[in-house]
């Protein structure tokens, strides 16, 4: 009886020590899961998920606080990837999926208030006080954060047009489908 207890206790001590040692020796700085999640997020920093940027959202997902379907710019594909990574169920997106957009400033209306420059999370708007502002198209992530602050409503979002440079070959369309006769 006593031996059994002693053996079990000894085992517990040894294993506990090993675990303790491992937790110090192999300590991982930061949460690697957060990085993986963040790599999937589109980095628009739009805050549409309710968190102030992609990283906080990634952290919230990793903590299990946030759902994986809160990122409209990532779209359903993003949800699917996150579900894959985290082994969670795929859920429909919690918002309407929009095509990728671009902010455009009406240069005639802009009064140069710099409010949009302050709002832009990726410094994609150039211009200074009292000078017309312009969106650098190739940097704009389409987050819409600049639309609201504009006092003269001169910023609009436009879907990115398909050009020869970004045109994509389509998925072959002829699958065999049962020929349904019209009634």
């Amino acid at each position: 009886m006593l031996t059994a207890i002693l053996i079990m206790a000894l085992g517990a001590i040894v294993l506990g020590a090993a675990l303790g040692y491992a937790s110090i020796k192999f300590k991982v700085e930061g949460n690697p899961l957060v990085e993986k999640i963040e790599a999937i997020l589109p980095q628009t920093q739009c805050g549409q998920c309710g968190y102030p940027g992609c990283k906080p959202y990634a952290e919230a997902i990793a903590e299990g606080e946030a759902d994986i379907n809160k990122c409209p710019p990532g779209g359903m594909e993003g949800v699917r990837k996150l579900a894959d990574l985290l082994g969670r169920e795929v859920k429909p997106l919690d918002a309407e999926e929009k095509p990728k957009q671009l902010a455009i400033i009406d240069e005639q209306l802009c009064i140069g208030c710099t409010l949009c420059i302050q709002a832009c999370p990726v410094d994609a708007i150039v211009g200074a006080a009292k000078q017309m502002h312009t969106v650098v198209e190739s940097l704009c992530t389409g987050c819409e954060l600049c639309v609201k602050p504009c006092p003269v409503e001169c910023i609009r979002m436009e879907p990115i047009a398909e050009k020869i440079d970004n045109w994509k070959w389509k998925y072959p369309v002829f699958e065999i489908k049962p020929a349904r006769r019209a009634a």
Binding site: P172, V173, F174, I176, K177, P178, A179
Partner: protein, 337 residues
């Protein structure tokens, strides 16, 4: 304007053509079979074909797929014929029906249908039936006492009692049993001396059936429907191990020719292991697949408990296909050493 994606030209080939050629290549073997062992096999082929088409149609209907192109592709018929040829010709009709239906429904469609089955459906049917009904699957018609068609049909449809006089073992089985019973006192030479059973090389009558399959196989190879890799390596695998053992102890092990021309060797080499869906796809993979299947088939047939080993060998190798393919990817253009 129809939507065509390049290339605008295509060769006049189709799955249907491939399958029809496979069926055509089976005809010499079937002819020899029917001529030498009685026409019951034709009945079995008919039963299997009907069952396969019905099962296929039912499965397609359930999946809401169009019947025309898939029934017409002939793949179910090929499976059916192979099952009919692998089963004993006097097996009761329901055995063929059960086997064929299992092959089409479970081995083919439950895995996703044409092109998706990891196992050879015909061999699944054979394996399932020989495990479930070992006695019925081991009753082959006696080779020297030909029954007439009506008697055979009566047997197939259960109208007459299954008499031992009307059924027996294959030469392979006979040899194995004789050697076992003899417990070392008989030798292969004395057993196979009975030409009435064992014919000249591998069994009276059976050798001609096998020759028929060989002929069909060579024709298929000539038509480029099958490649040489799997068939040749299968035959090589079988020859190598049987030859080695035969050289070591000719009294106990039959010669390679006997093994190549008996049982399912030829049918397996040209019609079973060549199944592209469940087989390896890389050239080296095909060699490994065929060689191992030949080797395993011999081992199971000689040392195992079943009369023939081709089915189990093929199924076991089917399991290994993904890993073989993964490690035998050929080097691509410009990446060779």
């Amino acid at each position: 304007m129809d939507f065509i994606t390049p290339p605008y030209l295509t060769q006049n080939v189709s799955v249907r053509r491939v399958m029809l050629q496979v069926l055509a290549a089976l005809i010499p073997g079937i002819a020899a079979y029917a001529w030498l062992l009685g026409p019951a096999v034709l009945m079995q082929i008919a039963i299997a074909t009907a069952t396969a088409l019905l099962a296929e149609a039912a499965m397609l209907k359930l999946q809401d797929k169009p019947l025309g192109p898939f029934l017409g592709d002939g793949s179910a018929i090929v499976t059916a014929w192979l099952i009919a040829l692998a089963f004993p010709p006097l097996a009761p009709w329901w055995l063929i029906v059960v086997g064929t239906a299992f092959a089409i429904v479970v081995a083919k469609h439950l895995y996703g249908g044409l092109g998706q089955n990891p196992f050879n459906p015909a061999m699944i049917a054979f394996a399932v039936c020989i495990v479930s009904f070992p006695a019925l699957m081991s009753q082959w018609p006696p080779i020297n006492a030909q029954a007439n068609f009506v008697d055979q049909l009566a047997l197939v449809f259960g109208q007459s009692p299954r008499l031992d006089a009307l059924s027996g073992a294959t030469p392979l089985d006979a040899l194995k049993t004789a050697l076992k019973l003899g417990e070392g006192s008989t030798s292969v030479a004395t057993v196979t001396a009975d030409a009435a059973v064992f014919g000249r090389i591998a069994g009276h009558g059976w050798e001609w059936v096998a020759a028929g399959y060989l002929l069909g196989g060579i024709w298929l190879w000539g038509r480029k429907v099958i490649g040489w890799h799997v068939s040749m390596s299968f035959l090589a695998g079988m020859t190598l191990i049987s030859g080695a053992l035969w050289l070591w102890n000719p009294a106990h092990f039959a010669n390679p020719l006997f093994h190549l021309f008996s049982g399912g060797s030829m049918l397996g080499a040209f019609f079973i292991v060549t199944d592209p869906v469940s087989g390896c796809t890389t050239p080296r993979g095909k060699l490994i697949f065929g060689f191992s299947a030949g080797l395993l088939a011999y081992l199971i047939r000689v040392f195992g408990g079943y009369p023939d080993g081709v089915a189990f060998a093929v199924l076991l190798l089917n399991l290994c296909v993904p890993i073989i393919d993964l490690y035998t990817q050929p080097p691509i253009f410009g990446m060779k050493k």
